[in-house]
C-alpha cells in the first residue's frame, strides 16, 4: 500500500479558527477539504505538509446561497455532488453543473469540494508519480529536481491546469473570496491563476478560499466541453468553456476559455473577437474554432498525443459554440 507521511491533523470549526491555525503553523501547513487531491499527492510525496488543517467541520463553508438572477454564492466547502445536484445551480448555471458533474466519479464527487477543485494542483505525468518513480527520472523542477522533462530547455514548469470547474468560472466571470488573518479580499476567478506550473495560484498559502460568487444570470448563455479518454474518472486533457451574450441573433460579447492545455486557463481572445458583432452561423463558428488552434499549448505531459489535443481545440470550440447557437 502507498503510505501517507506523518503529519499533525487539526480540525477547524470556523473560518476564523482555520486561518488562525494556518497563520500559527506557517508555511509547512496545508488546508484540506475533501482530500481527494491533497492526500494522493502526499502519498506520492509531492506535498509533505507537517500540519494539515481539516475544513470539513466548517459549516459556513458549505452553504449555497442567493439567487442565480442576482448572484449565487457557493461555499468553497460544498461537495461537488452538492454543487452539481443543486437545483439553483442546475437551473441558473447549467454549464457549471455540467462541468462539475463531469469531474471524476460519483464517489469522488461526494468527497471532493468545489474549493479544492478550484485550487487543484497542476498536473503532469512526469510529476503525478510516486517517489520511487520520480527518483528514476532524477525528479523534475516542480518537486525535488531542477529540470523540466517536458521541455528540458525551458526555465519554467508546464504542468497543466486540470480543473473542470475553473474554465467555466473564468468564462462566466465568477469571483472568489479569500480570507486570512489580515482580512478578506475578493478577486476575479481569472486573476486567481498564474501561467506557471509551480506557482500556479496568486492566492497566498495562508489564504483560505471561502466563497465562489457567481455573476447574475441575465442575457448570456454558457456551455462546457471536455475531452478525455473515458467518460468517467479521467481529468480533462482539453476543455472549452464558452459564454456568449446575444443581441437578437448577433453575438454582443463572447468569452472562450480553454482548459487543460496550459498551466492556467487560457483565454482564446481571437476566437471571441471573430464572433463579436456577427450572427452565430456555421461559418462564424468555424472561423472562431480555427482561431483556437494557436492559443492551445498542449505539451506531452497528459494522456493523448499532444498534437491531437491541439487539433481537438478547434473541434471542441466548434462543438461548444454549436451548443449555444
Amino acid at each position: 500500500m502507498m503510505r501517507l507521511p506523518k503529519f499533525t491533523y487539526v480540525r477547524a470549526k470556523s473560518v476564523r479558527e482555520a486561518v488562525r491555525v494556518m497563520a500559527d503553523a506557517g508555511p509547512d501547513a496545508s488546508f484540506v477539504a475533501g482530500g481527494t487531491d491533497l492526500y494522493p499527492n502526499m502519498k506520492r510525496r509531492q506535498q509533505t505538509p507537517k500540519t494539515v488543517i481539516g475544513l470539513s467541520g466548517v459549516r459556513e463553508l458549505r452553504r449555497i446561497a442567493g439567487k442565480p438572477e442576482t448572484g449565487l454564492v457557493i461555499g468553497a466547502g460544498a461537495t461537488l455532488t452538492e454543487v452539481c445536484e443543486h437545483s439553483k445551480v442546475r437551473k441558473g448555471h447549467p454549464a457549471l453543473a455540467k462541468a462539475v458533474s463531469l469531474i471524476s466519479t460519483p464517489i469522488l464527487r461526494n468527497m471532493g469540494t468545489i474549493g479544492g477543485n478550484v485550487l487543484l494542483d497542476t498536473r503532469c505525468n512526469y510529476y503525478d508519480q510516486n517517489y520511487e518513480w520520480r527518483k528514476g527520472i532524477h525528479f523534475c523542477m516542480k518537486k525535488d529536481g531542477d529540470v523540466c522533462w517536458v521541455a528540458p530547455s525551458s526555465s519554467r514548469c508546464w504542468a497543466v491546469q486540470s480543473s473542470d470547474a475553473v474554465p467555466v468560472l473564468c468564462a462566466i466571470g465568477a469571483r472568489v473570496a479569500l480570507a486570512s488573518q489580515s482580512g478578506e479580499r475578493e478577486i476575479a476567478a481569472v486573476d486567481l491563476f498564474r501561467d506557471d506550473g509551480i506557482d500556479y495560484l496568486t492566492k497566498r498559502p495562508d489564504e483560505l478560499l471561502t466563497e465562489i460568487r457567481l455573476p447574475a444570470t441575465n442575457g448570456w448563455r454558457a456551455t462546457y466541453w471536455k475531452l478525455r479518454r473515458r467518460g468517467s474518472f479521467d481529468f480533462p486533457v482539453l476543455s472549452v468553456a464558452a459564454r456568449l451574450w446575444f443581441d437578437g441573433a448577433t453575438v454582443k460579447d463572447a468569452k472562450i476559455i480553454l482548459g487543460a492545455v496550459g498551466s492556467s486557463p487560457l483565454d482564446a481572445h481571437e476566437s471571441a473577437r471573430l464572433l463579436i458583432g456577427k450572427p452565430l452561423t456555421e461559418d462564424t463558428i468555424r472561423a472562431a474554432a480555427d482561431a483556437a488552434y494557436k492559443p492551445a499549448k498542449p505539451l506531452d505531459n497528459t494522456d493523448f498525443a499532444y498534437a491531437f489535443r491541439k487539433e481537438m481545440a478547434k473541434q471542441y470550440v466548434a462543438r461548444a459554440l454549436r451548443d449555444l447557437a
Binding site: R3, E132, I137, W149, G231, F233, A305, A307
Partner: protein, 814 residues
C-alpha cells in the same frame, strides 16, 4: 466418457457459484487480508535505472533504522529461477546487474509497513550505467552489451523458424498474394487484486506461503530450487483465491521468494503487499509484437500458403517468452485451412518489465493480424467476409499443416449465428458513413498439451473423500482465480454422485493437502480438472453402487444416483439416502476415498517446437462489432458486440457467459486504449504505472454484448466442455478494426486503435496507419516438417528439429 448418457441434473444449469456468497459479502480471504501475530512487513527497494551494473550496496543505515529486523540483497538468494526450464534467468534480488526500472535490489523486513517504507530511503545503491535498450529496433542493432549472457544471439532471446511444406510453391499457386504489416502494442492484465504474499517458517523447519498465485505447483518448484537445501517436502504453498489473474500471477515472483527467505531468517511471519505500481513492474503481460503476414489465396479464397513473421519485445527476462514466441505462430492454422505454412519468430530482450502470458497468451496479436488480413482479402476478392470464412473452414477431426489435431469445430455455427443476430449481411458496407460492422473469429486451446517442465505425470489430479454423514470433499491443486474453477469441481462431482453442489466441500490449491494441478493458465482447468474429477467420482460411484446393490439385493448395474439418494433405477422407491450408501460402502470396503487424474492425449507433431499449440480441444469464437467513428475527432464508440462461442458444452452457462463478457471487455480495452508504454527518452521509465493513467475501459466504455453459446460436445472435454476463459477475447481487436474500416474506410493496422491514429489514417494517401518496416534478423535454418497431406509423419525432415528434443515449453513425446 460419462458425458453423453442422460439428462443432466447439475451440468448445464445456472447454479450459483459455491464461493459466491463469500465473495459478495467480503468473507473471502485474499492474500492481503491475512495477518499472523508478530508479522513483519516487507518492502522491496527497486532499481531506479533501466540497465546498470551494481557497484555498491550499503544497507547499514537501513538495518539500523527503527523497526527494521532484516535486510536482504541478491547475495542472500544467489540461485536463479524462472518459469521455464530454458529461461532460469531471474534472481529474487538482482545480483550484479539491474535490467529495468522496477527490478528489485534490496528487501527490507520491519515491524510496520511505515518503518519498512521509511528505511527504503536509507539504502544506498551505486550503479554504473549500461547502454539502455528500450525497444526491439535498438535490441536488433545492439548485440553488445547483452542484457543476458544466454539466448540465441546478442539481445535476441529466441529465434524460431518452422516450415510446413513448400511455401514458395504455394505462393506460385495463388491468384493473389497479400503482404501486410501489423503492430500490436503491449498491455497488462490489471487484476483488481494486487499481488500479496505471507510466509511463515515454523519451529519444526517447515515453510508455508500463502500467495495470490495462479500456479502454486510451479511456485513450489521454484521455492524448492532457490531455498535449497530446504526440502520441497518441507515447503507448503497455498494459493489464496486470486482477485483476478489473467496470466499475471502465473510466474514464480521475486517477492514470494523474498518473504520466504525473510521468514526463515527472522523466524517471524513476513508479509508483502505490492502497490499498484509494483504490479505494473511484475507485468508478464502481452508482448508488443510486430508482425508480417504474407498470404496467398486462390480466387475462391482458399489459402495456398502463409508466411507469418513476428518480432516480440520480451522485456528484461525470459518468463514464458519462449512459449509466447511459438504461440505467435501456432494457431493460425486451426480456423481456415492453410495448405503450406511457414513461421519465423524472434523475441528480444529490452530494458522493460518482462512480458509473458496474458489472456490468449501470444495468440491475440497474430489473430488480429490474420483476421484483419482476411478482411482485406475479402475486400480484394469482392466477397463478403462472412462467406469467405464460411467457405473455408478447417474440418472437424482433422490435422493441420503444423500437425495440430482439431477435434470438434463449431466455428461455422458461430459465424452463422453472429452474422444472423447482428444483421451483418444487411449492414456490412451499407450503413451510413461513420457507422460500420466488422466480423472476426478466433480459436484457443483448452489446455496446453504439455506441461512447463518435461514429465510423464498427470497434469491434474483429484482426490475425493466420502464421509459417513454424506459429505463429500474434493481435493485438487487447481486455483480459483475468479473464473469459477472451485465450483466446476463441485458441479462435476455432484452430477455424478447425484448430490447437490452445495453438499460438497472443495479444497484446492494447497500443495500439502491437494494433488498437483499445474495451475490456472492456458485455459486448462475445466477440461483437465473436470476429467480428473469425473474419474475420481466414477470410482467413488462404483464403490457406493456396490455397497448399495448389496443392501438392496439388486445388480450393481441397476443402481442410480439422484436427489441425494441412491436407488434402484427400476423401482426408485427402493433405495437409501446418499449418506446411507456411503455407510454401506464403507462397511464393505473401509474408508471411501478415490483418485482421478488426467493426462492430455499425445499430439501428432513430433518436431522441435511441436510442444506449443497442441491441445485436447480447441474452442472457437466469432464476433461482430458495430462501431461509430467520428471523422472529426477519430473517436470510436463500440455500440454493440454479438459474439458466439463454441464451448463444447457449458458446465454452467452463467459462468461461461461471464467469461465471454469479461473477454469482450478486455479485448475492447486492448483494441481501443490499453498500452504499456515507456518514456524512451527518460530512462525507459513506465509512462504511467497507475490505474488512473493506464487507460482501461470503465463501464461507460463497455459495449452491449449479446452472447450466444454454441454447444457441440467435444469427446475430450468433461461432459464435452471446452475452454472459454481466453478464446472470446481473440476476435475483439480485429472485429473492431474491421468495423472501423467499414465505417470510415481506413485501416489502422496497429493496436490500440486510438483517435489520433484514425485521424492520421483518414489523412494518409493510402488511408492506412500502421508499421512500415521490420528489423533485420537472420532467421535460423528452418525446421522442415512436411504437412500430413504431403506424406509427413509429424517429424522434421531437416533442420535442427530432425531429432526430437526437449524444448522450453515442455517436450516432445516420442
Amino acid at each position: 466418457m460419462a458425458a453423453e448418457r442422460r439428462e443432466f441434473k447439475v451440468i448445464g444449469k445456472p447454479h450459483r457459484r459455491i464461493d459466491g456468497v463469500a465473495k459478495v459479502t467480503g468473507a473471502t480471504k485474499f492474500a492481503d487480508d491475512l495477518a499472523l501475530p508478530g508479522m513483519l512487513y516487507c518492502k522491496l527497494v527497486r532499481s531506479t535505472v533501466p540497465h546498470a551494473r551494481i557497484t555498491r550496496i550499503d544497507v547499514t543505515r537501513a538495518l539500523a533504522a527503527p523497526g527494521v529486523k532484516a535486510v536482504l540483497t541478491g547475495k542472500d538468494l544467489p540461485i536463479p529461477f524462472g518459469i521455464l526450464p530454458v529461461s532460469q534467468d531471474e534472481h529474487a534480488l538482482c545480483l550484479d546487474v539491474v535490467r529495468f526500472i522496477g527490478d528489485p535490489v534490496v528487501a527490507i523486513a520491519a515491524t510496520s509497513e511505515d518503518a519498512a517504507f521509511d528505511a527504503m530511503d536509507l539504502v544506498e545503491i551505486d550503479y554504473e550505467p549500461l547502454p539502455q535498450i528500450p525497444d526491439v529496433d535498438t535490441a536488433a542493432r545492439t548485440p553488445e552489451p547483452r542484457i543476458h549472457d544466454y539466448g540465441d544471439e546478442g539481445n535476441i532471446h529466441k529465434k524460431v523458424s518452422l516450415v510446413f511444406g513448400d511455401v514458395d510453391e504455394g505462393f506460385r499457386e495463388a491468384d493473389t498474394v497479400r503482404d501486410d504489416l501489423f503492430f500490436y502494442e503491449g498491455n497488462t492484465h490489471l487484476p483488481m487484486e494486487q499481488h500479496a504474499a505471507l510466509a511463515q517458517f515454523d519451529g519444526d523447519g517447515k515453510l508455508v506461503i500463502w500467495s495470490s498465485t495462479q500456479t502454486p505447483h510451479y511456485l513450489h518448484r521454484a521455492l524448492a530450487k532457490v531455498l535449497a537445501p530446504l526440502a520441497a517436502s518441507h515447503i507448503r504453498v497455498i494459493a489464496t483465491p486470486n482477485g483476478g489473474g489473467f496470466g499475471g500471477k502465473s510466474d514464480p515472483f521475486n517477492h514470494e521468494i523474498v518473504v520466504c527467505k525473510l521468514a526463515m531468517l527472522t523466524g517471524k511471519p513476513v508479509k508483502v503487499s505490492l502497490t499498484r505500481e509494483e504490479v505494473f513492474y511484475c507485468h508478464r503481460g502481452r508482448h508488443p509484437v510486430l508482425m508480417r503476414i504474407k498470404t496467398g489465396v486462390k480466387k475462391d479464397g482458399s489459402i495456398t500458403a502463409m508466411h507469418f513473421q513476428s518480432w516480440l519485445d520480451g522485456g528484461a527476462y525470459g518468463s514464458y517468452g519462449v512459449a509466447s514466441t511459438y504461440y505467435t505462430g501456432a494457431l493460425q492454422t486451426v480456423t481456415y485451412p492453410v495448405k503450406r505454412y511457414r513461421f519465423d519468430g524472434a523475441r528480444f530482450f529490452t530494458n522493460k518489465p518482462p512480458c509473458g502470458p496474458k489472456r490468449g497468451h501470444g495468440t491475440p496479436q497474430p489473430r488480429y493480424a490474420l483476421e484483419v488480413q482476411m478482411d482485406k482479402i475479402a475486400e480484394d476478392l469482392g466477397t463478403n467476409p462472412a462467406d469467405l470464412r464460411l467457405r473455408h473452414l478447417v474440418p472437424a477431426n482433422s490435422v493441420t499443416a503444423n500437425w495440430l489435431r482439431v477435434g470438434s469445430m463449431g466455428l461455422g455455427r458461430c459465424i452463422e449465428t453472429v452474422v444472423a443476430a447482428s444483421g451483418f449481411r444487411e449492414k456490412w458496407h451499407k450503413l451510413p458513413e461513420g457507422r460500420g460492422v466488422g466480423l472476426a473469429c478466433g480459436s484457443y486451446i483448452s489446455g496446453a498439451g504439455l506441461p512447463i517442465y518435461w514429465n510423464a505425470m498427470p497434469h491434474s489430479g483429484v482426490q475425493l473423500k466420502c464421509d459417513r454423514g454424506g459429505g463429500v470433499t474434493v481435493f485438487c491443486g487447481s486455483t480459483e482465480i475468479g473464473q469459477g474453477s472451485d465450483s466446476v469441481l463441485a458441479y462435476v462431482v455432484a452430477e455424478l454422485l447425484g448430490i447437490d453442489p452445495f453438499d460438497i466441500r472443495v479444497v484446492t490449491a494447497d500443495t500439502d493437502l491437494t494433488p498437483v494441478d499445474l495451475g490456472s493458465y492456458s485455459s486448462r482447468v475445466t477440461l483437465m480438472t473436470g476429467n480428473a474429477a469425473i474419474q475420481a467420482a466414477e470410482r467413488a460411484r462404483e464403490l457406493l453402487a456396490k455397497g448399495a446393490a448389496a443392501k438392496l439385493a439388486i445388480p450393481e448395474s441397476r443402481v442410480g444416483f439422484a436427489n441425494r439418494r441412491v436407488f434402484d433405477v427400476e423401482d426408485p422407491s427402493k433405495g437409501m439416502t446418499f449418506a446411507e450408501a456411503v455407510v454401506a460402502a464403507e462397511s464393505q470396503f473401509g474408508t471411501i476415498g478415490t483418485v482421478g487424474s488426467y493426462v492430455p492425449p499425445p499430439s501428432p507433431g513430433k518436431y522441435r517446437g511441436a510442444g506449443v499449440g497442441p491441445s485436447p480441444a480447441y474452442s472457437y469464437t466469432a464476433a461482430v462489432c458495430e462501431v461509430e467513428v467520428d471523422k472529426d475527432t477519430g473517436i470510436i464508440v463500440v455500440k454493440k458486440t454479438w459474439i458466439a462461442h463454441d464451448i463444447g458444452r457449458s458446465i454452467n452457462p452463467v459462468l461461461v457467459e461471464g467469461q465471454v463478457e469479461g473477454s469482450v471487455y478486455m479485448g475492447l480495452g486492448e483494441a481501443l486504449m490499453e498500452e504499456m508504454i515507456y518514456r524512451g527518452n527518460r530512462n525507459v521509465v513506465h509512462k504511467f504505472p497507475s490505474l488512473l493513467e493506464y487507460k482501461s475501459p470503465t463501464t461507460l466504455e463497455m459495449c452491449d454484448v449479446e452472447t450466444h453459446l454454441i454447444e457441440d460436445p467435444d469427446p475430450n472435454g468433461p461432459f464435452g466442455a471446452k475452454e472459454v476463459g481466453q478464446g472470446p477475447l481473440l476476435p475483439m481487436p480485429p472485429a473492431i478494426a474491421n468495423a472501423v474500416y467499414d465505417a470510415v474506410r481506413v485501416r489502422v493496422d496497429e493496436i490500440p486503435i486510438t483517435p489520433d491514429k484514425v485521424l492520421k489514417a483518414l489523412r494518409a494517401k493510402d488511408r492506412r496507419y500502421g508499421p512500415t518496416k521490420t528489423p533485420t534478423v537472420t532467421w535460423p535454418e528452418p525446421i522442415v516438417v512436411p504437412p500430413p497431406w504431403e506424406g509427413g509423419t509429424g517429424k522434421a525432415v531437416s533442420g535442427e528439429g530432425a531429432k526430437p528434443i526437449v524444448i522450453g515449453a515442455g517436450g516432445v513425446r516420442k
